[in-house]
Structures are given as C-alpha cells and as structure tokens.
Point group: C2
C-alpha cells in the first residue's frame, strides 16, 4: 500500500507524536512532534525533521547543534496516531546535552538523575 502522510491521524493542532529510538542500542532518545509536512520531509530527506511547537517552525534535528538524527526505520502504530523512528543519533539527542531526554528516574517516590551531560 502506498504511504500517504495525510492518512495519519493528527491531533487538533495537526500534530502526531514521534518517538526516536537509537537503531543500534534500542535506547529511547526523545519524543517530539511532526505535522504532515515534517513526516514527508523526514521520509524524503532521511534527516529527521520535527515541528517545533514553541518556535512554530520546522526543526531539522541537529541543524544548529550538529546532533543530527538520520532515519533508519519509520513505523506507524495501529491507530496511526503515533510514530516510531529508529535513528542514528550523532551526539546527545537532548538539549541538556544528554544522550536521551529520559534521564530522570522516578523510584520510591523520589526523582533521580541517572545520566550526565556529555562533555565537549
């Protein structure tokens, strides 16, 4: 079946959540949002491109930071309202300079940071 980005189920803002997972290690790196055009651009270019809700602009991951995400695999879920992207991630995925955005563990009623920012 041909894939049409318009066939996905977007929310009221026209967005769909996209989970980025390290294609090699399986680590979940981040979750961000795409609109239909970001989906199309990601598939066309192989450079993962989100829609920045704060900037209201396309966000080619790594364009300013150099922390590029290259698309390895693109998956759609059963309800067509969530994406799973397997990626090759250069450097940290998180704006805090950590490899993953999910660096805060909740355990025994408390929060604990389990990853350090990368240096350099």
């Amino acid at each position: 079946m041909p894939f049409d980005p318009a066939s996905l189920s977007y929310d009221a803002r026209g967005l769909i959540p996209a989970i980025a997972q390290d294609a090699g290690t399986g680590e979940v790196l981040m979750m961000a949002w795409m609109n239909a055009e970001a989906v199309a651009r990601t598939l066309e270019t192989g450079r993962v491109t989100y829609w920045s809700r704060s900037r209201q602009a396309f966000w080619i991951k790594g364009e300013t930071s150099g922390h590029v995400q290259t698309l390895v695999e693109f998956r759609v879920d059963c309800d067509r309202d969530c994406l799973l992207l397997k990626v090759e991630q250069i450097g940290p995925a998180c704006h805090t300079n950590r490899r993953s955005c999910f660096y805060t563990l909740v355990e025994d009623g408390a929060e604990r940071v389990t990853m350090a920012p990368e240096v350099g």
Copy 2:
C-alpha cells in the same frame, strides 16, 4: 527530590503521553496517555494504568485481556511532558494481538506489516 505527579506538564486535556518499552528486549511496545491520577496509580500499584481517551476511564492495561503490563522503571523527560515506562509485558501489547503496536513499516513510499498477530 520527592516526585509529585502534579509536577508533570500535562496537555490541555490533562494528559501526558507514556511510551511503554519492553524492559528486557528494548522493543517499543505502545504509546498511550495518562492523567495525574493514572501516573499515581501506576507508581502505587506497579500495574501500568492509562487514561482511555475513547472510554474516558482508567485503563488498567491487561485488566480484561490478561495482557498485563508490570512497571519495571518509570522515567520522565527533560521537559516533563513525556513518560518512558520500562515494563514486563505479558502477551501482546497491541489490541490487534501483536506484540507491539508499531507493526507497520514505511519504506520506499509504501506500507508493509512486519509482525503477525500472536495465536491463542
């Protein structure tokens, strides 16, 4: 730092996306939504509990299907607006009886189902 479910960043509906990842294999199984009370119940009981948007009710994963999700690790992202749950998943996570909801691959402009429903 003590963890307070109210400290998370919920959307206009009071919901936060939660990614469920197989604690053993790293496979991403599904994404669903929680409200603050579902977060609290999940942490208290160790049984992953979502908020069903369609039913507008708590959804204790596996309560009717037997496909229980047991919480292994609970993580919050940098913006506190997405959760990553590492889980032990009994049977399929997807309502289509597949292990993961992300069984549709998009490749070369076409969709292809890459996982079969589990039998029995």
